[in-house]
Structure formats: structure tokens, C-alpha cells
């Protein structure tokens, strides 16, 4: 069974450190009705999670470059369109590249933005090198936010099927960290042509009042 895991991953150590969930089950269960959100995703794992969940729907914008930009793209979208719920789904590696984005989001505090970090403790796409979260960094505790106004980070372990519904009704940006096993995401082949995905996403944004 261990042979099924990505090469070089110490799965026992990862599980002992709390990376226990199966992302193929946890992400869909957490999100619930994906039609309730516009999605911005990170590059590899979360892009495939959300593309598989939505069958590469027009209401998702999955990145394949611009690493570190997912949260700020989501923030801009949430600020520009307060009538829409925006869900940023990104990985620990992508989030760690621009963790200051969380401080800006905490300050601006848009009620229609939620952030889901699918944390597998590794840079999966480039060969499962360990990320900071495998080396002791806890994204929930280290999230930069003003102490007075910050909503408590959501404890998403074990999975609550209602968490997605709560994200859809929240009045401050929820920040959910799912600690998942460093295992491969769904092997969904998504559209990676950025211009056509932008046009498609814009259609979804403008189409449904």
C-alpha cells in the first residue's frame, strides 16, 4: 500500500503530524454546493480538486502560474462583486508564497470571501518537497490578522459537512485549513489556457445576476 504513495513521501510521518484527511473526500464534503461560489484556485492540487468537483465549470478560475496570487485575486473579485460569494481554494505552498495577503484580507474584511487551504505539507507538483507546514509552521495559528477583529480560524478537523454552508453565510472571511495526506489530487485534466478561462469565468460572473 505504501508503494501507492508519491515517491519520497514519508506518509507515516505525515499522518503522525496530523496530515490525515483524504483530499478527494474532504474538499467536496467541506464545500458542499459548489454552485454557491465563484472559485479562484492555486496552481496544481487545488486546481484539480476544484476542476474535478465542478467538471471544470465556468465559475472556477484555476491558475497554472502566478504562484502566490490566488488569495489576492479572490480578494479583488470579492471587493469588486459584493453580490457574489468568492471561495479561494489553495495549497499550503501557494499560500506561503504570499502569506501577507491574509493580513490584507483580515484588514479589509470582506464578508463575501472565504479561504480554504488544502494543506498537505508538501510542494506536490514539483516532487513532494516538504513545505514549511511539515516543518512546524501552523497556518491557522500563524495567520496574520488584527487581534481585535480577527474571527477565529475554523477548525476543520474532523470534516464538518456543514462548513461549506457556513462559509456561504459567514459575515467575516472564514479561513479553513484542511490538513490532508500528501497524496495525489484527482487526475482531472482541466483547461489550462488562461485567456479562454478568463473569458469563460467572466461569462459566469456576468451571466447569473
Amino acid at each position: 500500500m505504501a508503494n501507492d504513495y508519491p515517491q519520497g513521501v514519508d506518509m507515516a510521518a505525515a499522518i503522525a503530524a496530523g496530515f490525515v484527511l483524504d483530499r478527494r473526500e474532504a474538499v467536496p464534503q467541506l464545500i458542499g454546493r459548489h454552485e454557491d461560489f465563484l472559485f479562484v484556485t492555486g496552481l496544481a492540487g487545488t486546481a484539480r480538486d476544484i476542476a474535478a468537483l465542478t467538471h471544470d465549470g465556468s465559475h472556477i478560475y484555476t491558475m497554472a502560474g502566478a504562484m502566490g496570487g490566488a488569495c489576492m485575486i479572490g480578494l479583488g473579485l470579492a471587493l469588486a462583486r459584493p453580490d457574489k460569494r468568492v471561495l479561494v481554494a489553495t495549497g499550503d505552498g501557494e499560500l506561503l508564497m504570499n502569506i501577507g495577503a491574509l493580513a490584507t484580507i483580515a484588514v479589509l474584511n470582506p464578508a463575501n470571501l472565504a479561504i480554504l487551504c488544502v494543506d498537505n505539507g508538501h510542494y506536490g507538483e514539483t516532487g513532494y518537497q516538504k513545505s514549511h507546514t511539515s516543518l512546524g509552521v501552523d497556518l491557522e495559528r500563524s495567520r496574520p490578522a488584527p487581534a481585535s477583529s480577527a474571527p477565529a480560524p475554523w477548525r476543520a478537523r474532523p470534516i464538518s459537512p456543514r462548513a461549506g454552508a457556513c462559509c456561504a453565510k459567514a459575515t467575516a472571511p472564514p479561513f479553513v485549513v484542511l490538513r490532508v495526506k500528501p497524496d495525489d489530487p484527482p487526475s482531472y485534466k482541466r483547461n489550462m489556457e488562461p485567456a479562454s478561462c478568463r473569458v469563460r469565468f467572466r461569462g459566469a460572473l456576468l451571466g447569473a445576476g
Binding site: 491558475m63 497554472a64 502560474g65 502566478a66 514539483t126 489550462m192 489556457e193 488562461p194
Partner: protein
């Protein structure tokens, strides 16, 4: 450099293809390396051009040298 020889990810082209024109427009001399045996002499030449010649120099490690990424 991404967005270069053999690139399969469309997201990587805008930045990769802009590197050399942008650097040149800023007055940076660009030296492209495509073969492993060019690395040492090119870096040596760039060091001379920068620290004796007083010029801004970039050594560009192309994907023909590095191989295109699979992601």
C-alpha cells in the same frame, strides 16, 4: 527560464517571453545559454563584463539547457 523552448504550460509564456526584451530595454546585456559546455565560460564572461566592464549583465539559463518542466 519558463515559457521557453518546449514549454507546455500556457501560463508560463507571458513572463518567460518578456524576460529578454524587458532586460534589454533596461540596458541589461543578456547572454543566453543553451548547451551545458557554455555554462562555465558564459558565467565567467558575464562576471568580467559586470565587475571589470561595469555593465549590467544577465545570464539566461534557457529550457534548451535545463529541459522543459512537465508541469
Amino acid at each position: 527560464m519558463r515559457g521557453d523552448f518546449g514549454e507546455g504550460n500556457p501560463w508560463q509564456y507571458p513572463m518567460g517571453q518578456a524576460v529578454e526584451p524587458v532586460l534589454r530595454a533596461m540596458g541589461v546585456i543578456c547572454l543566453r545559454i543553451e548547451q551545458p559546455q557554455e555554462v562555465v565560460p558564459t558565467v565567467g564572461a558575464a562576471l568580467t563584463m559586470a565587475f571589470q566592464g561595469g555593465n549590467a549583465v544577465a545570464v539566461l539559463l534557457t529550457q534548451k539547457l535545463l529541459g522543459a518542466k512537465a508541469f
